[in-house]
């Protein structure tokens, strides 16, 4: 194969400094899952260097690049399922892209308005609840939300001193009920990492979620 052809298919750059930036991304995700309801920001210097193919946001790409590898199949929702995304993730993570949500370690949700249920993803087993899918959910707004298809939630549970309030969206109208069902399955269930491209919100399966009005 001529060298030019190799350049033509070589995917866009991932993390500029994989070792140190993976650590930064991991610590941000760890803090987000340990403190649900609090938004944790990735440094702009980190997300700014990632040139991920549409529709993956730099933050979602950073999370996958830091955490996924050949041991973790990735499921892409319909909006994210394109050749460029597949090539980018296969190249940088070494992950297999899977069509089966139920065998995915990670799932990238580029269009959460289509995410009406969570029970198709791997919930783990009662013996091994850790064998479950982690969803990376890209939203347009996180924190203060306008209400156009967005939700406002009241959160309680581990990681939250009393009650936390957070909004994000737009999402499918069925997602809040799906999150409540997910909590009801504890210790089985899926964990969500919600990101608007800069901030990260953790919604582990342990969090109790109630919808609040606008």
């Amino acid at each position: 194969m001529p060298v030019e052809a190799l350049f033509a298919i070589s995917p866009r750059p991932g993390l500029a400094d994989p070792v140190m930036q993976s650590q930064t991304v991991f610590r941000t995700v760890m803090a987000a899952l340990a403190e649900p309801g609090t938004i944790h920001a990735l440094p702009e210097t980190l997300t700014g260097t990632i040139d991920a193919p549409a529709p993956i946001t730099p933050a979602a790409a950073a999370i996958l690049l830091a955490l996924a590898d050949y041991e973790t199949p990735i499921f892409l929702d319909e909006a994210a399922r394109n050749a460029d995304v597949g090539a980018f993730l296969s190249f940088h993570c070494g992950s297999r892209i899977t069509d089966s949500a139920g065998e995915a370690s990670f799932a990238l949700i580029a269009d959460p308005t289509s995410l009406d249920r969570l029970d198709a993803f791997a919930p783990g087993t009662l013996d091994y609840p850790d064998r479950s899918t982690t969803l990376i959910v890209q939203v347009a707004e996180l924190g203060d939300v306008s209400g156009e298809g967005s939700v406002r939630l009241r959160l309680t549970g581990p990681g939250i001193a009393d009650t936390a309030r957070i909004g994000f969206g737009p999402v499918n109208a069925g997602l809040v009920a799906a999150l409540a069902d997910n909590r009801a399955r504890f210790p089985q269930g899926v964990d969500l990492i919600v990101t608007d491209g800069a901030g990260i919100l953790g919604l582990p399966r342990s969090t109790r979620i109630e919808e609040e009005g606008f």
Binding site: D17, V19, M20, R27, S132, G159, D191
Partner: protein, 298 residues
Amino acid sequence: MSANAAAEAARPYNYAYLDEQTKRMIRRAILKAIAIPGYQVPFASREMPMPYGWGTGGVQVTASIIGPSDVLKVIDQGSDDTTNAVSIRKFFEKTAGVAVTTATTAASIIQTRHRIPETPLGAGQVLVYQVPIPEPLRFLEPRETETRKMHALAEYGLMHVKLYEDIAKHGRIAKTYDYPVMVGGRYLMDPSPTPKFDNPKMHRSPALQLFGAGREKRIYAVPPHTDVVSLDFDDHPFEVNKFDKPCALCGATDVYLDEVILDDRGGRMFVCSDTDNCETRRADGHRGELLGNEEPRA
């Protein structure tokens, strides 16, 4: 190539010793552990350049979370100065280029064997426990398949029976360390061989608590503000160890004390197990019996 990447390429070993694939695997296990408080996540433990008894599980957890902006404290039985604590601290100074400290309040990560610092931990701090035996039910049920089933169904009657047998035999629950707790009202968890004196510090702590067992290949976690309740009975409520005397050096009364033999004629004293806490109190003007019993002027 960034400056960091250049430094990385020039480094003769991986950052924080572990290779990136191992770190990713441990990091994923830590995230699951946080999402399922008290559940023991299996992980593929690696050989570390130190023997198992030295806390290889805790070291692997610390190596997977640590970054150059962290400030690390390492304690062994409350002391920053044992061979074990000093070795681990040096290991991370060298392999991860982090700042180290003995001050509990200055640390972002505290790796510990057998104690929780007396100074209350704060939000954003991470306490990493070195755990020898992560399974609280192991001494009652040696079969892993059986203990896994008990955790799956939250069937912890066996542990209650054992504790109640203690009460029948000794008039009280005999366990003074390794005292079992329920985490988030769901999982029975071994707090590692900390004295039961430290159990209440785990309850709704604002810090993140991570537990690593190297030989047994398990990682588990207690997120901040999570209920950690020591098992007990209505007629025998959980009580922490009480000490008859204050610390002989700093006069502290509400801390865990170690017995120190002074001479071969039976002379002995009780001093803080937490050396940082004791030194800080003395620097603030507190004096125990051995140093003339003084309190700082208001």
